[in-house]
C-alpha cells in the first residue's frame, strides 16, 4: 500500500482551505475582515475572497461592465481589500458595506475615466463624536445588514425601483426622471421616502 506524505497530497490545498473554513466558521465576515486588518493573514484573506469576489463581480456586471473588464475590476477591488483592511472599522460598518464602497469607487473610476470624488477619510478618524449625531446601537453590523435587507424587501415597488436604478445602474436623478417619465421632484421624493424607511430599520426602530 502506498503511503503518501501529507505534503504531497494533491488534494492538500483544497483540504487545507476546507480546514481553514472550519477554523473560521464561528466568525462573521465582519469579524474576519477586522482580523485581516490586524494580522494580514493570507488564510483569512482567502476566506474573504471566496465569499466576496463573486458578489463584487456580480455588482460590477450589473453596472453594465463587460465581463473581461469586470474580472479585472474585481481583482483590483479585492486587492484593495487586502491593502486597506487596516482602515476597516467593524463598529461602523459591516464587511459587505465597506467592500461595497471599494467596488463602487473602483468601477466608477473606470467607467467615468475620472476619480469619483471622495471625502477625506482622515477627518472621519478624528471625529470621535460622530456616532452621537446618528448611529446604530452597539451591535453586530451583520445584524444591521439583515435589518436593512428586510427594509429593502418591504419598500413599495416605486421606491424599490429608484433604489435599484441608483445602486445597480448608477443612474442620476435626471436619468431616472427621463427613463420613468416622471418629474425630477417625484424621483427625489421617492428616494427620500425610501431613505426614511431604511433609516428606521437601520437604527432598529422598525
Amino acid at each position: 500500500m502506498e503511503n503518501t506524505p501529507p505534503g504531497d497530497d494533491v488534494d492538500n490545498l483544497a483540504f487545507l482551505s476546507k480546514q481553514h473554513a472550519e477554523e473560521f466558521e464561528h466568525m462573521s465576515w465582519t469579524q474576519l475582515l477586522a482580523q485581516l486588518g490586524v494580522s494580514k493573514d493570507r488564510k483569512v484573506y482567502i476566506q474573504l475572497f471566496r465569499h466576496f469576489a463573486p458578489r463584487v463581480k456580480a455588482y460590477i456586471r450589473r453596472l453594465g461592465v463587460l465581463e473581461s473588464v469586470a474580472d479585472e475590476l474585481t481583482q483590483e477591488t479585492m486587492l484593495s481589500v487586502w491593502r486597506k483592511a487596516h482602515m476597516f472599522n467593524p463598529e461602523k460598518a459591516a464587511a459587505s458595506t465597506w467592500i461595497f464602497t471599494l467596488a463602487r469607487n473602483q468601477s466608477i473610476d473606470w467607467m467615468r475615466k475620472q476619480k469619483y470624488p471622495e471625502y477625506s477619510y482622515e477627518e472621519v478618524f478624528h471625529d470621535a463624536e460622530e456616532s452621537a449625531t446618528e448611529g446604530t446601537p452597539d451591535i453586530d453590523q451583520g445584524l444591521v445588514t439583515d435589518r436593512v435587507m428586510t427594509a429593502i424587501n418591504t419598500l413599495p415597488e416605486n421606491q424599490a425601483q429608484v433604489l435599484y436604478m441608483s445602486f445597480f445602474e448608477g443612474r442620476s436623478h435626471a436619468e431616472i426622471s427621463s427613463r420613468l417619465d416622471i418629474p425630477l421632484g417625484s424621483v427625489k421624493s421617492r428616494i427620500r421616502l425610501a431613505c426614511e424607511k431604511l433609516k428606521q430599520h437601520w437604527r432598529g426602530e422598525a
Binding site: 463573486p54 463581480k57 456580480a58 459587505s96 475620472q114
Partner: protein, 218 residues
Amino acid sequence: MSINHHLDDATIFSYVAGALPQGMALVVACHLSMCDTCRSRLRAPEAVGGALLESLSPDRINDDALEQVLDRLDEPDSTSVSSAAEVMPVQSSEVPQPLASLIGNSLDDLEWKRMVPGICYIDLPSGPQGVTKLLRVAPGGVVLPHTHRGNELTLLLRGSLSDEIGRFQRGDVSDLDDQVEHQPLADSREGCICLVATDAPIRFTTLLGRLVQPLTGF
C-alpha cells in the same frame, strides 16, 4: 465649524449609490470633508449598499483569479500616494481636500475668468450634463434670478451669500432643484467664493437674465 445648511437625503443617497454626476459628487465630497453631521448620514445608505452586495447571487469567478490576486499581495501599492493621503491628517486648508486635488490649497492666486461684471469663474471637470464652476462674486454682487431644470448644489468656501432660503456661510451647502426660484446675493464685505455644480441648464427668469445666459456658460 458650525454649519447650518446641509445636503438633501436624496443627494446623499445618490452619492453613496455612485449615481451622482461628477460635479455634484465633487461638491458633496467637499461638504462631507467639512461636515460631521452629513458624514454620519452616509452610514445608513452605505449599509444599503452592503446589503445589496450580500444579496446578489454570486457570479462565476475564474479558477485562477484567487491565485493571481495572491501573487500580487506583496506588490508595491501603485496607489500608495493616495492611500498615504487617506491616513495622514490633512493640514487645515481653506480648500477642502477633494477640491484641492484639482486647484491646489489656496483660493488666492487662481486664474479667474470674467463671466459678467462682479462675477468671475473657473471651470472644473463636469459630467456630460450641467456645469461645475468655482465662482467669485464681488461684494454686493447678485446672481440673476433663476430656477433650475435640474439640481443645483452650491458650497460656500469664503464669505457669505443670501437668498430667499437663508444666509449661507463657509461650509454651508445650498441643495436646490426645479421647485425653487432664487436670487443669490453676496452680502458680506469680502464678497464670496463658492463651488457650484448643476446637472442641467439653469433657467433665468428675467429678460435680462435670458439675454446674458449665453455669456454665463450656465
